[in-house]
Symmetry: C2
Subunit: 132 residues, 2 copies
DNA sequence: TAATGTTTTGTTATATTATAACAATGTGTA
DNA sequence: TACACATTGTTATAATATAACAAAACATTA
């Protein structure tokens, strides 16, 4: 049997929820919200999340331990992610900027190490919050 | 009483340990290693870590939940951090590259949000591991 | 279609990471 | 000294994540 190319039932349930949310969701909040769909245990959620992250459908916001749906179709291939995070309202937005991604993909430091992946998190105060 | 400008005893103990380590340390591994110095509880470690991160003496590697001593004196001011992480041996190195930091500090996306801080984590396989 | 090997799932238990709450102690200032 | 407040110690608990293993689902092919 080959590794799945489609989404399994649990993965689809989790993805649907994460995609409906405008903001990152925590694993246990996801669990709570999918219990009526038959997902009962943390591991079922974490397994679905792991796979969804692996195939680029969602991303983990590492500084928040939370998960957000991908808003940029190229992520499935590139493994290159960037986010802006408002430290006041916690709004998170995926940054889709080709210049930035080009710059970072080509970045080489002097260690001679080749990077296959990066994650960038910007922090600040969003427009909305600043005008309050 | 003003907020301290020096390091308190616990902070110094934790910092000493983290600085001695060439690699990121986890909070509970720090706790285990400073118990002979009189630090008994997780919260004592986390409080010290929080402050040390705040003043830029150490950084948290978010994707690893681990802490590493700052290897770049400008971090105390800039709140701009970048790391390379080997996914094979887990070696972490702070990237100190003025072009990169300049580029990222000046980066503006089209949301009109002003960033005061960023954290960037590059992943790959280090030279050593590649030659194995 | 039955046997086989593999992936995915369900389930229980447990490990790991981090914070809440509050009393006690220390320290600078008036 | 009296006050304000920062820091510490302590216990308990919350939040995040994984280990282990049996059961079920599914593709392959005999
Ligand atoms: Zn994406
Ligand atoms: Zn905001
Ligand atoms: Zn630094
Ligand atoms: Zn390596």
């Amino acid at each position: 049997m080959q590794k799945q190319t489609f989404l399994t039932k649990n993965q689809q349930i989790v993805l649907n929820l994460v995609e409906k949310s405008s903001q990152p969701l925590k694993a246990y909040s996801i669990l709570f919200n999918v219990q009526k769909k038959g997902i009962k245990a943390p591991l079922q959620v974490y397994r679905a999340l792991d796979r969804l992250v692996e195939i680029g459908k969602i991303h983990k916001i590492e500084s928040r331990n939370a998960f957000i749906a991908c808003q940029d179709s190229s992520c499935q291939i590139s493994k290159a992610t960037a986010f802006s995070i408002c430290e006041s309202c916690e709004k998170v937005t995926e940054i889709n900027n080709s210049k930035l991604s080009k710059y970072l993909k080509n970045f080489k430091d002097n260690s001679g190490m080749k990077y296959s992946k990066y994650n960038l998190e910007f922090f600040g105060v969003c427009k909305k919050c600043k005008n309050k």
